[in-house]
């Protein structure tokens, strides 16, 4: 019987030397596989965007806007902070930010997992459409605004207007919530929620007691047509 030896290739791109478009184009090559390291991002925008291959990409340093946007399949690790819209419109795969993320993290993301080990600022998971987001620290105001599907887990505190005009995203917060947005309410934690939260925390590398969290969801009073309001239309 033949012995198969698996060797993982690792390719490094230095953004101080190779233009960003060349790096992103190389990461879009058909049939891509292996591990990739991107050094010297220096806050550049659009790092590792539009990936669609089962590869692992590590970005060594802080990135600017829209890092790992539209991600599919890839596992992207950002060793630093991320600017506006990290993992925006992610479809699958995972994005991990070891530091903080700026506003609109995972905006409109349909699938996959975003983990921010630090804080995420305003509008985290805005219009979330099915992805999971786990934030190690706090989230800013208007997080999960109009979020439709998926889960948001906050290990710290949430800013004002959490879950405003929420659809069916489930939100779990361990700390304080400055205020809830319109139509967002605290809900009971059932066994299925404890199990779901345990799984999400585990996927992000945390083992908190899920019973220390509060679940928030939509009161569903905004998005159904109500006959009492017929005269308003």
């Amino acid at each position: 019987m033949d012995t198969l030896t698996s060797t993982t290739t690792s390719t490094t791109y230095d953004l101080g030397e190779t233009p960003l478009r060349e790096v992103n184009a190389a990461l879009h090559a058909p049939g891509l596989s292996g591990d990739f390291v991107i050094t010297g991002p220096a806050g550049a925008h659009n790092v590792a965007c539009g990936l669609n291959a089962p590869v692992k990409v590590t970005v060594a340093g802080h990135v600017g806007y829209y890092a790992a946007g539209m991600n599919q399949q890839a596992e992207v690790v950002i060793e630093g902070n991320a600017g506006t819209g990290v993992a925006e419109n992610m479809m699958s795969g995972s994005v991990v930010v070891t530091g903080n993320a700026s506003q609109s993290a995972a905006a409109t993301a349909h699938g996959g997992l975003l983990v921010v080990h630090g804080d995420a600022s305003a509008r985290c998971a805005i219009s979330l459409k099915g992805a999971d987001v786990v934030v190690g620290g706090n989230v800013g105001h208007n997080s999960a605004f109009m979020a439709q599907a998926g889960r948001l887990v906050v290990r710290g505190n949430a800013g004002h207007g959490l879950g405003d005009s929420l659809y069916e995203t489930r939100i779990y917060v361990r700390g304080e919530v400055a205020s809830l947005g319109a139509d967002c309410v605290a809900k009971e934690m059932g066994p299925e929620h404890l199990e779901e939260l345990t799984g999400l925390l585990k996927a992000a590398g945390y083992d908190d007691d899920p019973a220390t969290y509060t679940r928030y969801g939509s009161a569903r009073s905004l998005y159904h047509f109500h006959s009492d309001n017929v005269s308003a239309y």
Partner: protein, 298 residues
């Protein structure tokens, strides 16, 4: 858009490098706006000689030598003029009111870009890199600098529309965003005797803060008052000779990042403007919270 940068040095050994660091920061933000640019430099001994008052003038309609003679005549004492790009820096051993009055007498149509002790304000229309090169900004020294790259929205692309707005003694404001009720606030300030140089919304914010400070309020109180009076989107960097403050509106959609080390405090619209600062890899880096005033003093 628009880009903002600011650097407040704590370590005096870095002061000879202020201009070099500020140039890199400013030019990194030029793709957030390249209609005009401006900087305020605190403590450059050539541009704002120590122990003197300096007035920064634009559109004087005359040259440095002629302006110097006219200011000296109006002041009744010697005045020096240094041309830095389009800006003429007038300095003299006189108090602020006396030198400003003399400058206005000598060049009635000039735009006062800034005034005070240890402050030089340079601004102009054009590409930030070209302007910075023209100012020889990389050679500037000092303990604090702020800069702005403008993408014009609500007022003309001319020198009067370029930031910073340095409208109070030693004070300076740069702004990313837009004030929506600036016309209302401008009318109220005009009724209180405040004079304006432009139709620009940021000038209203700057004159509002200067008015608050002139009435004896501290920077933090003045900025909180701005939050309740001015409506709109803003990330502001407000400096004076000894302080450096950052404020964002309640919605906080205009970006801002602050980095701090033992050697300096820096602020910019985006991290990439800070990426070349010495020791940034060990800096504490965070995004300022909405409606919280962050202030540092020396």
């Amino acid at each position: 858009m628009c880009g903002i940068v600011g650097l407040h040095l704590r370590n005096p050994e870095l002061q000879p490098r202020l201009g070099e660091l500020l140039t890199t920061m400013l030019c990194e933000m030029q793709d957030r706006g390249a209609d005009s640019a401006g900087v305020a430099v605190y403590g450059d001994p050539r541009m704002s000689p120590p122990g003197r008052t300096t007035v920064s003038l634009l559109e004087t309609g005359t040259d440095a030598a002629t302006l110097g003679d006219a200011v000296a005549a109006a002041l009744g004492g010697p005045a020096d003029v240094l041309a830095v790009g389009e800006t003429l820096l007038v300095s003299a051993e006189a108090d602020e009111d006396a030198l400003l009055t003399a400058c206005r007498a000598a060049a009635p149509d000039a735009l006062v870009a800034g005034f005070g002790a240890d402050l030089a304000v340079l601004k102009g229309v054009g590409h930030p890199r070209a302007l910075a090169d023209g100012w020889d900004l990389a050679k500037a020294q000092g303990w604090q600098g702020v800069g702005h790259t403008r993408m014009a929205t609500e007022s003309a692309v001319d020198a009067s529309g370029a930031h910073p707005y340095a409208v109070g003694p030693g004070q300076c404001m740069v702004h990313n965003g837009s004030f929506s009720n600036h016309a209302t606030v401008r009318r109220e300030l005009v009724r209180n005797g405040v004079r304006f140089d432009s139709q620009n919304d940021t000038e209203v914010g700057a004159r509002f803060v200067a008015h608050q400070l002139a009435e004896g309020r501290d920077v933090e109180t003045a900025l909180k008052e701005l939050c309740t009076t001015l409506d709109g989107f803003y990330t502001l960097l407000v400096s004076n000779r000894d302080s450096f403050a950052v404020l964002r509106d309640a919605i906080a959609c205009k970006p801002a990042v602050i980095a701090e080390t033992d050697d300096w405090v820096a602020m910019a619209s985006e991290y990439r403007a800070l990426a070349d600062l010495p020791g940034v890899e060990n800096a504490r880096i965070w995004e300022p919270e909405p409606e919280v005033v962050y202030a540092w003093t020396r």
